[in-house]
Symmetry: C2
Subunit: 109 residues, 2 copies
DNA sequence: AATGTTTATCGTAATATTGCAATATTAAAT
DNA sequence: ATTTAATATTGCAATATTACGATAAACATT
């Protein structure tokens, strides 16, 4: 096997899993943190900041983009990446709603 | 390769990535949602609720446990799993701090 | 003690991910 | 038109993940 059985789960479950999966790698967390840190949307010096080869970074950026976590703007020669806050908000709302649901319940462990 | 280069990233980055990675599968999201939903900590009927074989569920539970997202209590024959809220809180705080940092910045995309 | 129930582990096949060298693509600068 | 710079894509090797049948382990029930 090896393939996730997405068809057995709800769209929302798959959608949250897609976002968290994209964040499930330290390099991609580091990219997100870098994009948060820099004031303007700087593009390819992510490659200089991270200890990974350029094709590897490019691939991680692609995955973040596919998951909707970042947006990319072509600016002449370079590409300006920045965080897409809708995805972050979606996650925040999701975890907040989970936490709220739990406050009314007993915790047995 | 295929092996993540964790040694190049900070402990915090690796720690967040470990949690998000564990959440990066719809079955594990479904397990978390089920544990949130049931009032008391019901154990192995997770297997009955999800469309996956028992060994597969057991494996997913192990991963959630390793990532610190759930706790398991042995109760005689059965095992009582429930959410470990420390991990969820950690994520919430992380995303909240990221969001706050961004409010002071320009968004160029 | 023998049987059933619940959960974990082992082994393994199918597939996905990670990482990078080599190369391609695109646009700017000369 | 060439060259340079920035980014993407391709191809591939190493490793990890996903899923499940078979089996084991632990306990409860009879």
């Amino acid at each position: 096997m090896g393939a996730t059985k997405t068809e057995h789960f709800t769209n929302k479950q798959n959608s949250i899993a897609t976002i968290t999966k994209a964040l499930g790698h330290p390099a991609r967390i580091a990219i997100i943190e870098y994009l948060v840190k820099v004031d303007t949307c700087i593009c390819g010096d992510i490659v200089n900041k991270l200890p990974l080869a350029q094709p590897t970074i490019s691939q991680h950026l692609k995955e973040l983009k596919n998951a909707g976590l970042i947006k990319g703007n072509i600016e002449g020669n370079t590409i300006c990446y920045c965080i897409d806050w809708k995805a972050i908000e979606k996650l925040q709302n999701y975890f907040a709603s989970i936490s709220m649901k739990m406050e009314k319940k007993n915790n047995c462990c």
